[in-house]
Structure formats: C-alpha cells, structure tokens
C-alpha cells in the first residue's frame, strides 16, 4: 500500500538520521538537504538509495538534483511509488 505524505516524511527523517546523524525532529518538509541538514552530495546518494528501498520507488541520478528539500523528495516519492 502506498505510504502517505506524512509517513514518507517520517521515513525520510529516519533515513537522514541514520546516514547523517541529524535528529529526526529536525527533518521537516521545508528543510534543504544540503543547506539546512548538512547532507552532502555523496550522503544524498545514500539517502536516495535507502529511500528507494524503503518506498519501492526508482529515483534516477538525473532526478536527484531537483530534490532540494525534504518536501521535494516526499512529493517525488508519493508521485512515483508503486
């Protein structure tokens, strides 16, 4: 069953926490991965791959650059998940 927007954001928060050590409560929809959460370009790849597995969605490299904020990523996943 497809995850809700809220579930996706919560899932992303757990992923970002595990990969970059950012507290779960800091991962909010309007936060930028690079500017606010200190997720660099390589950690972003790890976040994307973890999100792909968790939400059963494919996020190609060329689409990753457009995912600036947590909200961008959540929207993308909601739209593309199986």
């Amino acid at each position: 069953m497809a995850a809700t927007q809220e579930e996706i954001v919560a899932g992303l928060a757990e992923i970002v926490n595990e990969i970059a050590g950012i507290p779960v409560e800091d991962v909010e929809v309007d936060k930028s991965f690079t500017d606010d959460l200190d997720v660099d370009s390589l950690s972003m790849v790890e976040v994307v791959v973890a999100a792909e597995e968790r939400f059963d969605v494919k996020i190609p490299d060329e689409d990753v650059k457009a995912l600036r904020t947590v909200g961008d990523a959540a929207d993308y996943i909601a739209k593309h998940q199986a």
């Binding site: 370009s41 790849v45 790890e46 994307v48 791959v49 490299d61």
Partner: protein
Amino acid sequence: MSKIKPAQGSPYARILGVGGYRPTRVVPNEVILETIDSSDEWIRSRSGIATRHWASPQETVAAMSVEAAGKALADAGIGAEQIGAVIVSTVSHFKQTPAVATEIADRVGAVKPAAFDISAGCAGFGYGLTLAKSLVVEGSAKYVLVIGVERLSDLTDLEDRATAFLFGDGAGAVIVGPSDEPAIGPTVWGSEGDKSETIKQTVPWDEYRSGTVEKFPAITQEGQAVFRWAVFEMAKVAQQALDAAGISADDLDVFIPHQANMRIIDSMVKTLKLPEHVTVARDVETTGNTSAASIPLAMERLLATGQAKSGDTALVIGFGAGLVYAATVVTLP
C-alpha cells in the same frame, strides 16, 4: 586428423609476491588548493584524501613499474629469467606503440617473455590477475608478472574542483605462479558500456591535436552516479565473488577495494556488512586514487605494516571507467 598435444598447466595458481613503487614527491592538499577554490576540510570530507604522490619526469610508467616488479620478484623468491609473461595495465602511458610491457620486461631482466598492455581502468589489476591465473593454469606461462601502473597526474585537470584532488601516481606488481591448492577464486567481472560517459577522458587525443579544444585531455567523472554505482552495484559484485569462492564474510580476513575514495570504501563496508575483524585497506588517504595500481599498492602496504599477513584470505575488487569491474578472493602472498 592429427592430434594436437595440449599445454601442461598447474592445477591452480596463486599470488607469490607483491611489490609497489610510490613516487618520491608527496603532494598535500595545500598544493591542490593553489589551483581550485576549495578547502582541506572539504577535500578530506568528500574523499578522505590527505596526500598523494606525483611522479617526476624521471619516474616514468616504465621506471616505476621496474621498481615495483623488482620488489615483487624478491618477495616471490623468483628470478626474472623465470617470468613467462608480463601483463601491464595502464591508461596513462602516452606512447601506445610498442606496448610498455616489452620495455619493462627487458629492463626487469626477463628473457623473451610474452608481454602486452591491457586497458581496463581501475579494474585493470583484477583483469590482469585473471589473465595471469588463466595462463598459469592453462600452461602458457609458469610465472606471470602483473603490473598496474599510472601517472594520473598527467591526466588531471588541476582547475576542476571535483577531480583535481583525486588522482595519484604509482605502480603495483604481483607475481602469479603455480599452486597445489586454490589461492585465487573465480573472478566476477564484466562491463557496462551503456555507462561509458560516467567516467571518461574529456576528449580524444586527435581532437586535442587538431586544435578544436585547447585543454589537454583529462579524466572527468559524474561524482554522484559513480558513487551510487560503486557503492551499491559493486557491493553486489563483491558479494558474488565471495559466494563464488565459497567464502563467507566471517571467513574473510582482509578487504582490498580499489582505492577510489574513502567515502566509497566506508559505504561499501557498511553495505556488505563486513564483520569488525576484517581489515579494510584505506591506502587512499595517503596515496590518492591510482587506478590500476591501487589494489597491489594497498596490498603491499597492508602486508608491510603487519595489518595483514601472508596466508590471509582477501577480497579484492576493482571498478572504474568503462564502466568495468572485477572481483575475486585471493590468498595473500
């Protein structure tokens, strides 16, 4: 029909000795920062690289190879005259004909061995090792000298802030010879030519010669795409090599991945779920990415510093431009 007599090979092959050569000049990140707008902290956090070695004009591809080969021969206890074949993997020898392997073979003191170059980027060592094993088992050569050697400083764009700090120079060599028991596992190798744009030389030589481009060719890559492929796809290949050799992660003593970037190494270790007791090669910190030379250089250093010992079981995996890859499990010399 006449009957053809087959060659007599050895039942198995093993790495008998390893040797390395690192150029004298050590280049810290401060030197890289003279031509790019970055910082030591940024370079270290993205790559784990603190220093690398750059070759002088005298430290040619052949000269570095001869030094590394001499050490590998001494380590193996084999005389140069016993070498039946020399395989050199490089992408940074600027004279394509004749193959540099022939000059190296002659300077090492080998007597009319088969000698040729191969091009398989950062997987070059694994490709060479696989060929060497086949030659020994099939009987075309008893002892094979395999060299990975690069002068990547010649192919580095010092003004590109994404790659200027990555590359280093050096040579690593092994001697492969007969063995009574299996000591080099099945190779899991392949290519993905559909991803050829991911890591590549910026322009062909003839385009530079014709003057249509001003900048000398250099190696360029798509960092995020390379990172994803290297960490997640290559972890699968590494696991396949373990499975093919019948070795579990618990049986493993040492992991020697191509020294591309510390972040790739760290993520691979995590993805593969390697146990704590496995020694991981992290030579990239002081050697940079030396492409085909990185695995034998890292292997030599682990053995020289006592972090690994002769007889240890090691997983080696190379991956790079092509894209190409090769992974296998070996017994360390």
